[in-house]
């Protein structure tokens, strides 16, 4: 099955463009008209208190739910109605808030299965060698994530922190244009958070697998977000309160009042 994501991108075209997204659950307007853009290679943070609509927004971008109104464009293509499978084929990767690795497969196999469906057809893979030619790429990521010593262990046998790294690595294996990270620091030991931040910056600027992805990150850990992201969007009650650089957001009076506290 051919992927359709490698069409020509016009210069300056954003990787992701969300326009007027709305989603209501009964009487509750979870997302009430959100618009923003993510540029190629950018790390874009989304923050906001609980109930601000971040998760609903995320799930819409991931094809898990269909928005009531609005448009989501990936590299200029309207992908609003597509589901998770088609989005992944078009270059969207994601991590999950709760660990979602394949516990019974080795770490290496986890990475290979994360990208194997992106090349050739299903039938070309029948009876083909197990790593689908992705061995090198998997090894590069394993080295970048510094999990060489556990690469052949079953993913379920790793520590939580190590599994988290595998989880994140899996999202990058298929060399997506856009990676959505859902609370990458959730449940992670505070001493490891810095490591994750460094890793993500490395992946963004100098990926061993040769593809500069854009990231959209939802996180509650303020220090992490401020340190990592190029731009941040603040959501409150389903609407965008502010979009700007970390410095701009930190000094935005509205945001300080509504969310960050003093």
């Amino acid at each position: 099955m051919s992927t359709t994501r490698h069409h020509e991108r016009t210069a300056g075209q954003p990787v992701l463009k969300v326009t007027g997204l709305k989603k209501a659950y009964g009487a509750i307007q979870a997302v009430g008209g959100v618009s923003f853009q993510v540029q190629p290679g950018e790390i874009f943070g989304v923050i906001g208190p609980n109930g601000s609509g971040k998760t609903t927004l995320f799930n819409s971008m991931l094809g898990q739910i269909t928005p009531d109104e609005g448009k989501i464009e990936l590299n200029g293509e309207d992908v609003t109605q597509l589901g998770p499978l088609e989005l992944n084929r078009r270059g969207v990767g994601r991590t999950f808030q709760t660990l979602q690795v394949f516990g019974k497969m080795s770490v290496r196999d986890n990475l290979i299965v994360a990208a194997q469906e992106h090349q050739g057809s299903m039938f070309s893979r029948m009876f083909a060698p197990g790593d689908s030619g992705l061995g090198k790429r998997a090894d590069a990521l394993i080295d970048q994530f510094r999990i060489r010593h556990v690469a052949d262990k079953k993913a379920g046998e790793l520590s939580y922190g190590q599994q988290k790294l595998v989880d994140i690595a899996m999202a990058f294996m298929s060399q997506p244009d856009l990676v959505l990270l859902d609370e990458p620091c959730a449940g992670v030991n505070p001493s490891l958070v810095g490591g994750i931040s460094t890793l993500l910056k490395q992946l963004n600027q100098n990926p061993q697998i040769g593809k500069h992805s854009s990231f959209v990150v939802i996180e509650h850990n303020m220090d992490f977000v401020m340190d990592l992201c190029h731009r941040i969007m603040v959501m409150v009650e389903g609407r965008v309160m502010a979009i700007g650089t970390p410095a701009e957001i930190r000094s935005n009076k509205q945001v300080l009042e509504a969310y960050l506290g003093s």
Partner: protein, 326 residues
């Protein structure tokens, strides 16, 4: 493969090839019976053990394969035409059965497949004009192989053995390929699988279809083995037994079916004089197995390994706590 494994396979192969001529007719027949069910159970192991689907209707495909081959041979066509036909028909029906699997989850799927089995069995039982109804079809011949007759139990046994080995190798090849990983991903975390670009729909349908094809081939071999077929062995009770065979052997373990089929088919056949009591022991053993070894008999090595790792991990934790590392 480790030396020990190569040696074990070698010995097994030698026994299976050389021992049978020394067995009585009934013993050879029993071995063939076992092989046939290994093939069928391998298919179910793919659907249930590797792809994580719920299929309580496998005996329907087994029966369909048997009837296709029996009817075709009765119509004068060759066994060697009937067998692939059985596989193909079962493959197609397997895909059709897979569609409800896309819409319906776990326990509902189990009941749906159970229902499918009942429907097929009812047709086998009631449509006398086609299947001979409860009278079944008898006088099914054994095939010829390039002029050589496979009439005798021993000759037919070697055919069945060859078929089992071939089907086993095909399955192994499939499981070692990217498809194997895709099935495992589908089983363990279908949502994550989808978000990684794995077409869970296609793989679900294929897991049913391939499993069904295996059962169909097994059924075809069964027809010529027992030479008389009737609906009873293809009812829901048999599907449930086949499911238990996968579970007892160990779902997702390649050799599970070998063990499961032995327990589910050879032992009761061998102990036929005490069949009701055997079933009592078997049923109770399944209950106990679930309580102590829910992953099947072949999970014993993994469990020992897991316990050892846990012990090492807690020892390491204790050591580092005492070592007062910062």
């Amino acid at each position: 493969m480790k030396k020990f494994q190569i040696l074990a396979w070698g010995i097994a192969a030698a026994i299976l090839m050389i021992a049978p001529p020394f067995l009585k007719n009934y013993g050879i027949y029993l071995l063939s019976y076992w092989m046939v069910f290994i093939i069928a159970t391998m298919g179910l192991n793919l659907t249930v053990g590797y792809a994580g689907q719920k299929s309580l209707g496998h005996a329907a495909f087994f029966g369909m394969g048997a009837y296709v081959v029996a009817l075709m041979m009765k119509a004068g066509l060759s066994f060697w035409l009937g067998l692939p036909a059985a596989a193909l028909i079962c493959f197609v029906v397997g895909i059709i059965l897979g569609f409800p699997a896309l819409r319906v989850q776990t326990i509902y799927l189990a009941f749906a497949t159970l229902g499918f089995n009942t429907a097929v069995w009812l047709v086998m039982r009631n449509e006398e004009w086609l299947t001979g109804g409860t009278y079944g079809i008898n006088g099914i011949a054994r095939p010829n192989f390039f002029g050589m007759s496979l009439e005798g139990n021993l000759a037919y046994y070697y055919l069945v053995l060859a078929a089992t080995v071939i089907m086993g190798l095909l399955l192994l090849g499939l499981l070692r390929s990217p498809w194997g990983k895709a099935f495992t991903a589908l089983r363990d975390n279908p949502i994550r699988a989808e978000s990684l670009g794995i077409n869970t729909r296609s793989y679900t349908l294929l897991s049913f279809a391939i499993g069904a094809a295996y059962a169909g081939i097994a059924g075809g071999l069964f027809a010529s083995l027992v030479q008389f077929i009737e609906p009873a062995p293809f009812a829901v009770g048999s599907s449930i037994m086949m499911y238990l065979m996968v579970v007892v052997g160990g779902p997702g373990y390649f050799l599970g079916p070998v063990l499961g089929a032995a327990v589910g088919v050879i032992l009761p056949e061998w102990l036929r004089f005490a069949q009701a009591w055997y079933l009592f022991v078997f049923g109770s053993a399944v209950v106990l197995l679930m309580i102590w070894l829910p992953d099947g008999l072949l999970s014993i090595p993994d469990r020992i390994r897991a316990k050892r790792l846990a012990r090492e991990a807690s020892a390491a934790r204790a050591a580092s706590a005492m070592g007062a590392k910062v």
